[in-house]
Amino acid sequence: MTMTGRCLCGAVRFEADGVPHEVGACHCDMCRRWTGGPNFAVEAEAVRFEGAQNIGRYCSSAWAERGFCKVCGANLFYRLIDTGRYFLAPGTFDDQSGFKMTTEVFIDEKPGYYTFADETSKMTGAEVFAKYAPKQDG
C-alpha cells in the first residue's frame, strides 16, 4: 500500500511503499541532537519525493545520511547509504493511525526525563552494533 506524507511547510512531499507500520525509536545522542528528542522511524521499501530540490542531506557518519526540509527544517529521514534504505519520520505521514512503536534502540543513551509506556523490544548501542555491523557511532 502506498502511503503519503509531507514536511511541515509542504515543500517536500513523499509517497512510500512497503511501510510496515512498525515504529522504532532511537535514543542515541546524535538522534536526539537532530530531532530534539528520540528519533522515530519507519522503514520504507521505496520512497518517491516531490520537491526533492528542497531536501537537505547531512552525512552524519560514514554509512548514513539524514534528510531535512531546507525551507522549514522538518526532520524527514535517516538513510543507509550502502543499501539506500530510507527510515522515514512517522510524524510526517498523513495517516499515522496504523503505526505502533515496537522497538527502542540505544536504550542505554536514553536520558532520564522521559520513558515510553509502550511494550517494545529494547537494545543497547552495543547490541545494535553487534547485530547489524562492526561500526561505531550511529
Partner: protein, 141 residues
C-alpha cells in the same frame, strides 16, 4: 538559575541560554510532529545567545511563532513566539540534560496512538491551550 549550553548535531550552531525552569514539556500537535518527526520536547529558556547564527534557519509556522533549525544538518533547535524572547529549545540539543523533569504535555488530544509516555504529567488539550492563549487561533501553533 545557571546558564546552559547546547548545539545542533553538526556543531554549526551553538548557543547558551538561561533556564526558566528545569522542566521539559511535550507537544503532540500535528505541526510539531510534522516538524520533529514525533512529539516536540522543549525546555523554556530566556537570554539565548547563538554562535553560528548564519547557519540558523527560521521558519514562520504561524502568525505568532517561528521554528529554528540548522541549515547544515537540519537539527530542530527551537520554537519561539515572535512577541517573546523566551525560546523553547529542543531538549535533545542541550549539552547537559541532567536534572530535567518531564512536567507537562500539550495538545494531548492530537497525540497519535503509536506512542505513550510513561510519566505522569499535567496534560492540556489544544482547546485548553487556545483558551489560555486567545490571541492564537486557527488551530495552528
Amino acid at each position: 538559575m545557571p546558564g546552559r549550553t547546547g548545539q545542533c548535531l553538526c556543531g554549526a550552531v551553538h548557543y547558551s541560554a538561561e533556564w526558566v525552569r528545569d522542566e521539559v514539556g511535550a507537544c503532540h500537535c500535528g505541526q510539531c510532529r510534522r516538524w520533529a518527526g514525533g512529539p516536540f520536547l522543549p525546555v523554556a529558556t530566556k537570554g539565548v545567545h547563538f554562535e553560528g547564527e548564519e547557519n540558523l534557519g527560521r521558519y514562520r509556522s504561524s502568525d505568532w511563532a517561528e521554528r529554528g533549525f540548522c541549515k547544515k544538518c537540519g537539527s530542530s533547535l527551537f520554537y519561539r513566539r515572535l512577541d517573546s524572547d523566551a525560546y523553547m529549545m529542543s531538549a535533545g540539543c542541550l549539552d547537559d540534560q541532567s536534572g530535567l523533569e518531564f512536567a507537562r504535555q500539550v495538545f494531548i488530544d492530537e497525540k497519535p496512538d503509536w506512542y505513550d509516555f510513561a510519566q505522569k504529567t499535567e496534560t492540556y488539550t489544544g482547546a485548553d491551550f487556545f483558551a489560555r492563549n486567545p490571541q492564537r487561533k486557527g488551530g495552528e501553533s
